[in-house]
Amino acid sequence: MMNAEGGTSETLSLDDLHASVGVRSGRKHVLSILVENKPGVLTRVAGLFTRRGFNIDTLAVGPTDDDAISRITLTVDGALHPIDQVTKQLHKLVNVIKIRDLEPGDSLARELALFKVTVDGPRRAEVMQICDIFRGKVVDVSKDSVIFEVTGTTEKITAFDEMLKPFGLVEMMRTGEIAIARGRDET
């Protein structure tokens, strides 16, 4: 049967309707957000997370090839927060131009970290070997300390951190993840 608008009028059963949104994805999400490069924009983004009770796991902000636009890369735990609600609230910020929720398989994520370790003697060789395995670099050496630089995914940095802990890790600095889409498409 055809209706007046020309479409079919096959009946719909309410039992067949499903609500698909509002669920938690259960995984980490890397949100790559283009924002206007204006004062206070980061505060608006961060304030939104606070106000709505969302946690930011990591955050990195940097310029783009357009002076008027900055990129915020942040990671959110999709097990704790409904990611569609997070992105929809972000979209309401007037200064937010574009949001991309990067799929882990379709993107590359990197973080840079610096580790300061107090070691000397034979243990120094041992820790430098670990650094090699993680493709890290020694960027500073003193009589009783070494500073390593490592880049990689958050998981790799965390693994390196675990390996170094027994050696007298003094401190660690992490940048937070940045990410880029694979293939030709722009992020």
């Binding site: 009946t11 309707l17 949104v21 608006r44 304030g47 007037v94 131009i97």
Partner: protein, 558 residues
């Protein structure tokens, strides 16, 4: 041209008729421009009064309200109206003065971080750092305030910037790359919604303030008339559907009717239109409308599935979506008799559980009776404003609003003190209509000072105080949920509202006699100029029925 004269030009271009505000050090240049401007300015006695007046103006007219304040305390006094406007999606532009740019961050005299303080409560805000940006910024502010889901926008201008001269050229268009507010409803989704309505045996249209804000009352009525769909409304949506007739269920939620709440509880399909499933509507969320599938129509995508997962989401402007939905539904030629059982059930609830109260034989005035008397005295045709509390709920229950934009109150934030300034703004926006304020004796004292502005400017508002001598809603909760341990709710016999009215240059009347109440109210409302009517009502009266906090809607009491 002086930047401040450019501000006046921009306001004129935006169609601004009136600004509510109060001058101070940091907005002296702007106030100088008012001297030669055609734009009317109402001098309020407290910035919060100005902010709420701008809200009342916006709610009554649908236009953007404008409130001005100076830096520091002027701006912080605007915080409550700003957040109030955010919660109820009211289009208002707030322009605040700021201290000199070179003093920013030094804790200068009357410095406050206005942008920072207001950030969580605005739709957007601007700090102007270059005088040449003033015109464009003002137009962007108005555009953002009124488009999409409306809301408050703050424009903060340091005093040295507003003192500058600029080359003013009218701004024709705005450029906001991250802001695309106007969305057409998805045609496929609309068709799906029509099919769901046709399949539903127990449908309910649940409408909210978005229908009023979107000026879609006619379109809603047409949808409801396409079959015999029962309609319920939130507090903010009252008036968008006529408050009478077989399809009207009454208001829903905490103090809604049993017919409305039971219908939601039993429905198999709920079509939410410009409503946001607030906790005062749903009661216990897990047990809200357990049998229902949801169509959710809203201009704000973030409202979809925020509290209740939507089965058929439709994002867009209600005014354009509803006619599509209506014609799609009509085209399906659904068999209306499928609703017979459902409508019979609803009719049963309406008959069994009407809104009612126990009147007394003596002359004491029951608060519910007072609202009925106001309805009669105004012929049901006034713009009715309220404050927040029991009187607000009774007004929502017993004043039957026939049209949208006749009911002006603070819903989301629940701001006591909203009423009097809002009534001022409504009267200025709609000078040909009667504007009455039903206020509580607690609420009215929170912005009573604006009576001075009403008297000075001849703003003809009728303030009807429902005086029970206490903070009634808090008293009710202490009675019901805190074992009658009354803590700081008694307000005594203070102040003498009649004398206070006279001190403010208004007419003051006290009414205590039920038998003449309607006539007395009628003559008070007919008295020219601002009038304050102190109506003494029963103290220990509760708003019923009620969904107790955290309980499901089907467990209504009272």
């Amino acid at each position: 041209m002086r930047a401040v004269d450019a501000i006046m030009e921009c306001l004129k271009a935006e169609g601004v008729e009136v600004v509510f505000g109060l001058p101070g050090g940091a907005n002296l240049p702007t106030y100088d421009a008012f001297v030669d401007s055609e734009i009317k300015h109402i001098l309020v006695r407290h910035e919060a009064g100005g902010g709420h007046a701008a809200e009342g103006y916006a709610k009554a007219t649908g236009k953007v309200g404008v409130a001005f304040g100076t830096s520091g305390p002027g701006a912080t006094n605007l915080v409550t109206p700003i957040v109030d406007a955010m919660m109820d999606s009211v289009p208002v532009v707030f322009m605040t003065g700021q201290i000199r740019s070179d003093l920013l961050g030094t804790d200068g005299f009357q410095e406050a971080d206005t942008i920072g303080i207001t950030m969580p409560g605005v739709k957007h805000s601007f700090m102007v750092t270059d005088a040449n940006d003033i015109p464009r910024t003002i137009h962007e502010a108005f555009y953002i305030a009124r488009s999409g889901r409306p809301g408050p926008v703050v424009v903060d201008i340091p005093v040295d910037i507003s003192r500058a001269d600029i080359d003013y050229e009218p701004v024709m268009e705005v450029s906001l790359p991250g802001y695309q507010p106007n969305v057409e409803g998805n045609a496929k989704q609309i068709r799906q919604a029509a099919k769901a309505l046709a399949a539903a045996k127990r449908p309910v249209l649940y409408v909210g303030g978005g229908v009023v804000l979107g000026d879609a009352s006619e379109e809603l009525r047409a949808l409801a008339a396409s079959d015999r769909f029962p309609v319920t409304s939130t507090l903010m949506g009252l008036g968008s559907f006529p408050s009478e007739g077989p399809q009207w269920l009454g208001m829903l939620g905490m103090h809604g009717t049993r017919a409305a709440n039971y219908s939601m509880d039993q429905a198999d399909l709920i079509c939410a239109i410009g409503a946001r499933f607030d906790d005062r509507i749903t009661g216990k969320l897990d047990e809200f409308a357990p049998h229902a599938k949801f169509i959710h129509i809203d201009v704000d995508p973030a409202e979809i599935s925020k509290n209740v997962p939507a089965h058929i989401p439709i994002v867009g402007d209600v005014k354009s979506i509803l006619p599509h939905l209506t014609s799609e539904y009509r085209a399906l030629g659904a068999d209306s008799t499928r609703l017979d059982d459902w409508l019979a059930k609803i009719e049963g609830w309406k008959k069994e559980f009407p809104l009612t109260y126990t009147d007394t034989d003596d002359n004491e005035i029951r608060p519910q009776y007072m609202v009925e008397a106001v309805y009669e005295a105004t012929g049901g045709n006034a713009i009715v404003c309220s404050d927040v509390g029991q009187h607000q709920m009774w007004t929502a229950q017993y004043y039957h609003f026939p049209e949208p934009r006749r009911w002006i109150n603070s819903g989301g934030l629940g701001t006591m003190g909203f009423g009097l300034p809002a009534a001022m703004g409504a009267k200025i926006g709609c000078p040909d209509q009667d504007v009455v304020l039903i206020a509580g004796d607690g609420s009215i004292q929170m912005n009573m000072q604006e009576l001075a502005a009403c008297s000075q400017e001849g703003i003809d508002v009728k303030v009807l105080i429902m005086n029970n001598g206490c903070l009634g809603m808090v008293r009710q909760w202490q009675e019901l949920f805190w074992e009658k341990r009354y803590s700081h709710v008694d307000m005594g016999d203070y102040p003498d509202f009649v004398k206070l009215a006279e001190a403010y240059g208004a007419t003051g009347v006290r009414l205590t006699d039920k038998s003449t109440l309607v006539d007395d109210l009628r003559s008070a409302i007919a008295t020219p100029g601002p009038v304050v009517v102190d109506v003494r009502v029963t103290e220990e009266e509760n708003v019923y029925p009620m969904i107790s906090p955290g309980m499901p809607a089907r467990d209504m009491v009272g």
